[in-house]
């Protein structure tokens, strides 16, 4: 069982701008010579006197998109030789436009953080403070682009679930039949015996996404303040040495480079909130991810009767021989990740939406995704049909409404809400 993640926090300040970052320090820090953070959360505050201009909390993808926008804009600004040359076109995602010679408008509507204004005007000093904290962070640490592959898969993507389900059926069926096949030694094996965890654990899964803890929503603010406060003491000076926590053995066995994971649906370029940016919530009390054996696979390629039979046969908590109950949250997290992946890949081929659109996912009685109903955000220019998609049924433990948000750049976010 993986050890509880140890969080580290960092803080960078310049003038009225403060950037707080918390996350797990990867063992790669020993090679990089500076902290390499994963499962990152940040809080960015811009103040002018007592006025709070901006208070944004988000994940790595949000921070990277802001950093990129600032860097691109600033370089273009500096390259322009006269004020008359400062006219920059609008783009998607976070972008910045000059407002005369000394002001800079941050367009944040597509940032994916609900608590920020759509646009924020900064004077040059304020903007420079923002530039400085981002520079300080950039110099002091590395941000791990995506979750590394694990040698111990914790989730079986739904595309492989068919294979997994077939094996389970075969083994489970064999187990059921064994007492009848071996009549000379009447087996005491219970009729509800389940395949050993090792069977599911060894099913190859090259398209692996470790959906350990999915963020519940990128539209809503992430973790409350306590998530940053509960972390280890803040290093106010960015250059202070960071204690790299001892990593568990399984973490050091992750050999894949950060960008090597061929996710089923890779992140779109410059997403405002990357649906593939799988990052854990940096809570000190987060349950460590358990191996794949604890999660019954989602039989995406089975027929409905088979899928229903699987769910009846393998309710949550009974698949483990060691008696550990798999967390219901992990089933849901895995399903959410699979759903996001499938929807994103489908909608990449469709006409992009003009603005973020939010849908409600309608499930059948068996928990199979049926259709998406537009909740708000205007008229959907294209039919968002999902009837032909082979989507996994929702876990039995799912009790929340499933909402799907589609962004103009093709990113898809599945949220669980009331």
């Amino acid at each position: 069982m993986a050890s509880t993640a140890e969080l580290s926090s960092f803080q960078y300040e310049a003038g009225g701008c403060t950037l707080e970052i918390s996350g797990e320090v990867s063992s790669l820090a020993r090679i990089a010579g500076k902290p390499v953070l994963k499962r990152l959360r940040f809080r960015l505050q811009l103040r002018e006197g007592t006025n709070n201009l901006l208070d944004a909390r988000g994940m790595r993808s949000h921070l990277v998109s802001l950093q990129r926008a600032v860097e691109v804009y600033l370089q273009q600004y500096l390259t322009a030789t006269t004020p008359n040359n400062l006219s920059m076109p609008e783009t998607t995602g976070v972008y910045i436009q000059p407002r005369g010679l000394t002001r800079h408008r941050l367009h944040l509507a597509d940032w994916g953080i609900a608590s920020v204004p759509a646009a924020l005007d900064l004077n040059s000093r304020q903007f420079n403070n923002l530039v400085q904290v981002l520079d300080q962070m950039d110099a002091a640490m590395e941000l791990l682009p995506r979750q590394l592959r694990s040698s111990h898969p914790s989730v079986i993507p739904w595309r492989w679930a068919g294979t997994a389900a077939a094996v389970l059926l075969a083994v489970g069926g064999f187990g059921l039949l064994w007492p009848w096949l071996n009549q000379s030694t009447v087996s005491e094996a219970p009729l509800d015996s389940r395949p050993s965890p090792e069977v599911t654990g060894t099913i190859p899964s090259p398209e692996l996404e470790i959906a350990q803890e999915e963020p519940a929503s990128e539209m809503s603010p992430p973790e409350p303040e306590s998530s940053l406060d509960e972390s280890s003491p803040v290093a106010v000076q960015p250059q202070q040495p960071v204690s790299v926590p001892t990593t568990p053995p399984e973490a050091t066995s992750r050999a894949a480079p950060p960008t090597a994971a061929p996710a089923p649906a890779s992140s779109p370029p410059s997403p405002p909130a990357s649906a593939q940016d799988v990052e854990a919530q940096p809570e000190a009390n987060v349950a460590p991810p358990t191996p794949a054996a604890t999660s019954p696979p989602a039989p995406a390629t089975l027929s409905e009767p088979e899928a229903a039979a699987m769910r009846r046969q393998a309710p949550a908590g009974t698949a483990e021989q060691d008696g550990d109950q798999p967390a219901a949250g992990e089933d849901v997290s895995a399903w959410v990740a699979a759903l996001e992946s499938a929807l994103q890949e489908r909608w990449r081929a469709l006409e992009p939406v003009p603005q973020p659109l939010e849908y409600r996912l309608v499930l059948s009685e068996d928990g199979l995704p049926q259709r998406l109903e537009l909740i708000e955000g205007g008229v959907d220019p294209a039919e968002r049909s999902i009837a032909d998609l082979e989507l996994p049924p929702a876990p039995a433990s799912l009790s929340a409404t499933v909402k799907v948000t589609v962004y103009p750049d093709g990113a898809v976010r599945v949220n669980l809400g009331p």
Partner: protein, 185 residues
């Protein structure tokens, strides 16, 4: 910061003569804006070069003069060729000085913003007026006569002033270098 600037430099060592010429001109103007704003002279520049370990490139007044005189905008058509190492040295010196005088630069930029917000001519603010006068006078004194109007020179001076704010930051050297390169393309 230094390592990223160095890596940027490594990839751009093969600069054409025209690019180097443009870079010289731009760097001279950046230093001119610093001179005009904070009144620094060659002594301060030499001190900065020494602090940065660049004495071999700009270790004395004569050497520094030659470097700056290499600007194609200068009277006398500076014959000194500026190589990449020397351009790099001037970038480092410029950003070092901008960093050292960041408070003054911030103050000037804030005053500029206020003046623009209130639709007042910047030169009516004391610090900005002095800056613009010094910039214009020094420019006319040193540069070949060109047809730049006072308004164009003021625009250039104010743009350089705001740029100094960013050059004095942590990534200033890299940004200045990239801006120099981008402008030559």
């Amino acid at each position: 910061m230094e390592s990223s600037f160095s890596s940027d430099l490594t990839s751009t060592e093969a600069l054409t003569p025209r690019q180097l010429r443009d870079i010289k001109a731009q760097l001279d103007l950046v230093l001119l804006s610093l001179e005009a704003l904070v009144g620094i002279g060659s002594e301060a520049m030499l001190a900065a070069a020494n602090e940065l370990g660049l004495s071999a490139l700009a270790g004395d007044r004569v050497g520094l003069w030659r470097l700056r005189q290499s600007s194609p905008l200068r009277k006398g058509q500076g014959r000194k060729k500026l190589d990449v190492d020397e351009a790099r040295a001037l970038v480092l010196v410029s950003c070092h000085l901008a960093r050292a005088h960041q408070n003054t630069i911030e103050k000037a930029v804030s005053l500029l913003e206020t003046a623009l917000d209130q639709n007042r001519p910047p030169h009516r603010t004391a610090l900005l007026g002095d800056y613009l006068d010094a910039f214009n006078n020094t420019y006319e004194e040193r540069m070949e006569a060109d047809r730049a109007t006072a308004e164009e020179l003021n625009g250039l001076a104010l743009k350089l002033l705001v740029d100094l704010l960013f050059y004095g930051g942590a990534g200033g050297e890299r940004r200045l270098w990239l801006a120099l390169l981008d402008r030559t393309r």
